[in-house]
């Protein structure tokens, strides 16, 4: 059994140590907000926070998480919507939505380390793939979240 701390709760997961965190979340805990897009860490759909930093859960074995705190999209706005989520809702950023959980988690990570990112900062941090092409609204959403946070 592997002990994991996810969204401020402790879980015992019956899984081999090599199982990627993504599948423990989705299939063992039914936390299906984190999505599977490629399984090799390229697309970013599976992005979660581990001790506050964005990580691609499809390439993090559960055996390596240890005591670190995992946060998924379900917990991000549980008490109150995160400013990024509110901006996403205000501007209707998602289209199909399958990339957006990971996209939001990556954006939150970016704004945590760089509260007022430049376009270059955004380009470097956001390598997540969006197949529907919501990039223009993602940029606008980031600007809106930055504005809201500064108030």
């Amino acid at each position: 059994m592997i002990k994991l701390r996810i969204n401020d709760s402790e879980y015992d997961i019956d899984a081999p140590a090599e199982m990627p965190l993504l599948w423990a979340l989705r299939d063992k805990l039914d936390l299906t907000g984190t999505k599977f897009g490629c399984g090799v860490g390229i697309c970013g759909a599976c992005t979660v926070h581990i001790d506050g930093a964005a990580q691609r859960a499809c390439i993090v074995p559960v055996g390596e998480v240890g005591a670190a705190a995992v946060t998924t999209i379900e917990a991000l706005g549980a008490a109150k919507l995160h400013p990024v989520q509110q901006a996403w809702i205000d501007l209707d950023v998602p289209q199909c939505g399958h990339c957006q959980s990971g996209m939001i988690m990556q954006v939150v990570d970016l704004l945590t380390s760089i509260p007022k990112p430049t376009d270059d900062d955004i380009d470097a941090a956001l390598t997540n793939i969006c197949r529907c092409g919501t990039y223009p609204r993602i940029r606008a959403g980031i600007a809106r979240a930055v504005q809201a946070t500064r108030k």
Binding site: G37, G39, Q95, I129, C132, R137
Partner: protein, 712 residues
């Protein structure tokens, strides 16, 4: 009891389960075909509950293109509903009554959701409103014509009394269904063209949105499949013992007549690992070792054959004069994958004499029919639950993965969640086929197009779908030849032709279908003609256009894209205009080269799609579809060797990231014309506008996609 409008009478509605007593329930049906007009079904659209909540369910897929908002808006407008009380419900096939009569061609494709459902939804909403007014008037003992409505209320002419839709619903349902509807005038719209937000944004932002791969059922197990390296390959051996050595793996078996190996486990990852451990060996189908390079060459040489007319020669050929210019160019495009963000997935539960599936699909009734045939069940015993789609683009109009899920569920004797790996999804797509296109034209001395002849060589999409021999009457496949010749420009005489060249690679419908390759050729060729005529590409197009809507869109895009101002140093602009799906679009792209790498700075669009139901979403669709087209134009190429697709991940099938995406501006033209399609309309202009920009930048004309390596 329930009522419907239009073609179905009350007797067609038997007891409908699951509906709250006293609610008003109405259905509607679009005319999708002559067969549909003859059949007696209605899709349950609308239910108004006692507490005033309004549930709306539409059979279209929500794959990001916004039908879960635009279609309810149409209905809610004519109903005169309080939009805040509207809840959109995911469609289940049994909501169509009777479901067995719904034609399989009721699909979400061809950008036709608003086009198909606009009238039926207006009628449904207007009928419900009339019945609610009639119920209120009866209670007040006044004439219905004296009543008005406001958002979810009927208003008494005394200006004081009102009755809510919720409290009227039970009485309204026994009022006669009107045969003549009174529709709102666009000037009085409160919702259409005005409502900003989508109905599905919140769930997609907080992680509660349910895609097929998120469905969870009691006793459900997880499965994945591995097909052979080449389409049609058959499984010969696999190491079941190694796969089953993992205690988390429950079953490993051949399915699809040996076309695939399936693994069932307590989690998806263990199922995918089991497919690796089993080391399946496939034998290839004879003759299925197509080489992509050889096929590409065969398309080019096929252009020397006559082919079938598409269309045959039209117009009068003006006599050539010495000053005329002749231009000829040959274009080529490769196989393209859909690469939806969510790999193919489906949940299936097979019972005694019945089957339920949960799937994000563009073809719920085609899926139902295929599952019923596979299980030898009556249609009424198969239920399709629509989930959100993690991308469609035409890939989810196929049912291959659905049939696999059903077969695995049968074998496993328990509900199954089937998820394909990304590698499987990339290698077993139904690709946009490659085409070679040759265009020849003659410009007269005043720079007008006197003649234009176009020929395309490549596979038939419809024949692949329906199977069998080529059309004995030699009619061309419209999904190949539509827009082979331009529809926007006045040309003296023209002809088209199609040389069918078959491929063994599975092919299918990709966002914008024939427009994706034909508009690349046509709109690139227009620039080549403009260049030969020594005219500005915008002015050259404008002079040949006769349609006022096309001209307005071209003018607007040119304005947004600063066409008439000099480009910044080191940058150039290209323009393209297309008429597709009943809409008009023009695009200006501004690009530069940095160390041989293409940089797309700006993309400006104007679209005329008739009545704009949800303008904010139209902008999102145009820009998203453009990015889809730019990704393909820059990088998109599926290569084939020995019949096997060579790409297997986003590492070798490159996707545009936010850092490469241009800044966008999009204008939606105001219009009262009937709605045109939007979901695919932004894609066809991307590749030609970019290729044109790069020509004006460098003097180098690239006629083969993808473009990224052409300037390196």
């Amino acid at each position: 009891m329930t009522v419907t409008i239009g073609y179905v009478d009350r007797r067609s509605f038997l007891a409908l389960t699951g509906l709250a007593a006293g609610s008003l329930v109405l259905g509607a049906r679009p005319a999708v075909s002559a067969a549909a007009q003859a059949s007696d079904f209605a899709s349950l659209m609308l239910s108004i509950a006692l507490d005033g909540r309004i549930h709306i369910a539409i059979p279209t897929a929500e794959m990001g293109q916004g039908t879960a908002t635009s279609l309810p808006l149409i209905l809610a407008e004519e109903l005169d509903a309080d939009w805040g009380k509207v809840e959109v419900v995911r469609f289940v096939s049994t909501m169509a009554v009777p479901a067995t009569l719904v034609p399989a061609n009721l699909i979400t494709a061809n950008s036709n959701s608003v086009v198909t459902w606009f009238e039926p939804l207006r009628r449904c909403g207007a009928a419900a409103r009339a019945m609610l007014i009639a119920a209120a008037a009866r209670r007040w003992r006044i004439a219905p014509a004296t009543c008005t409505t406001g958002p979810s209320v009927v208003r008494h002419p005394n200006g004081r009394d009102t009755l809510c839709y919720g409290e009227l619903a039970a009485a309204a349902q026994v009022e006669p269904v009107p045969t003549e509807m009174v529709f709102k005038r666009p000037a009085n719209y409160r919702l259409i063209g005005l409502v900003g937000n989508r109905t599905d944004t919140r769930e997609k932002t907080v992680g509660t949105a349910i895609f097929a791969s998120d469905v969870r059922l009691p006793g459900m197990l997880y499965a994945s499949i591995r097909q052979g390296p080449v389409a049609g390959a058959r499984l010969t051996t696999f190491d079941a013992a190694s796969a089953m050595a993992d205690p988390n793996v429950r079953k490993v078996a051949a399915i699809a007549g040996g076309g695939a190996l399936a693994a069932v486990a307590v989690d998806s990852w263990s199922a995918m690992r089991a497919l690796d451990s089993a080391k399946p060996v496939f034998v290839l189908k004879p003759g299925a070792t197509e080489d992509g390079e050889a096929f590409r060459r065969s398309l080019l040489s096929a252009l020397d054959r006559p082919g079938v007319p598409a269309p045959s020669a039209q117009g009068e050929v003006a006599l050539a004069t010495p000053g005329d210019k002749r231009v000829e160019a040959t274009y080529a495009v490769p196989f393209l994958a859909h690469a939806t963000m969510e790999p193919m997935s489906c949940v299936a539960r097979v019972g005694e004499g019945s089957c339920e599936i949960w799937v994000g699909t563009q073809v719920p009734f085609r899926a139902r029919d295929a599952v019923a045939a596979a299980l030898k069940l009556p249609l009424a015993q198969v239920t399709v639950h629509q989930t959100l789609l993690g991308g469609g683009f035409g890939r989810r109009s196929e049912v291959d993965f659905i049939l696999q899920a059903v077969e695995v569920a049968q074998l496993a004797k328990t509900p199954i969640s089937l998820i394909w790996s990304r590698g499987e999804d990339m290698k077993h797509d139904y690709y946009r086929p490659p085409y070679a296109m040759r265009h020849r034209a003659r410009l007269d001395t005043s720079g007008r197009v006197a003649e234009w002849h176009a020929k395309t060589a490549g596979p038939s999409l419809l024949r692949r779908r329906r199977g069998g021999a080529p059309d004995p009457n030699g009619r061309p496949d419209p999904t190949v030849v539509q827009s082979l010749l331009p529809e926007l420009y006045r040309i003296g005489a023209y002809s088209g032709a199609w040389v069918e060249v078959e491929t063994s690679i599975p092919i299918g419908f990709w966002r914008s279908v024939s427009h994706s390759q034909n508009s690349f050729a046509v709109e690139s060729f227009m620039d080549e003609l403009a260049d030969a005529a020594e005219q500005d590409p915008y002015a050259f197009r404008r002079a040949q256009m006769t349609d006022a809507r096309a001209i307005a869109v071209l003018d607007k895009a040119a304005e947004l894209g600063d066409w008439h101002k000099p480009s910044p140093a080191g940058r150039a602009r290209g323009i393209a205009a297309v008429h597709c799906y009943g809409s008009y679009i023009a695009t200006v792209i501004e690009a530069s080269l940095r160390d041989g790498e293409i940089v797309v700075h700006r993309a400006s669009h104007a679209i005329d799609c008739g009545l704009a139901i949800h303008p904010a979403n139209i902008v999102a669709q145009v820009e998203g579809a453009c990015l889809f087209g730019l990704t393909a134009a820059l990088y998109g190429e599926i290569t084939i060797a020995g019949g096997e697709v060579q790409q297997e991940s986003f590492a070798d099938y490159r996707m545009l990231r936010i850092g490469e995406a241009p800044a966008m501006r999009t204008h939606v033209m105001a219009s009262d014309a009937p709605p045109g399609g939007v979901g695919e309309t932004g894609t066809p202009t991307a590749a030609p506008a970019l290729a044109n920009a790069l020509f004006w930048l460098t003097g180098k004309r690239v006629r083969t996609l993808p473009l990224a390596t052409a300037f390196a």
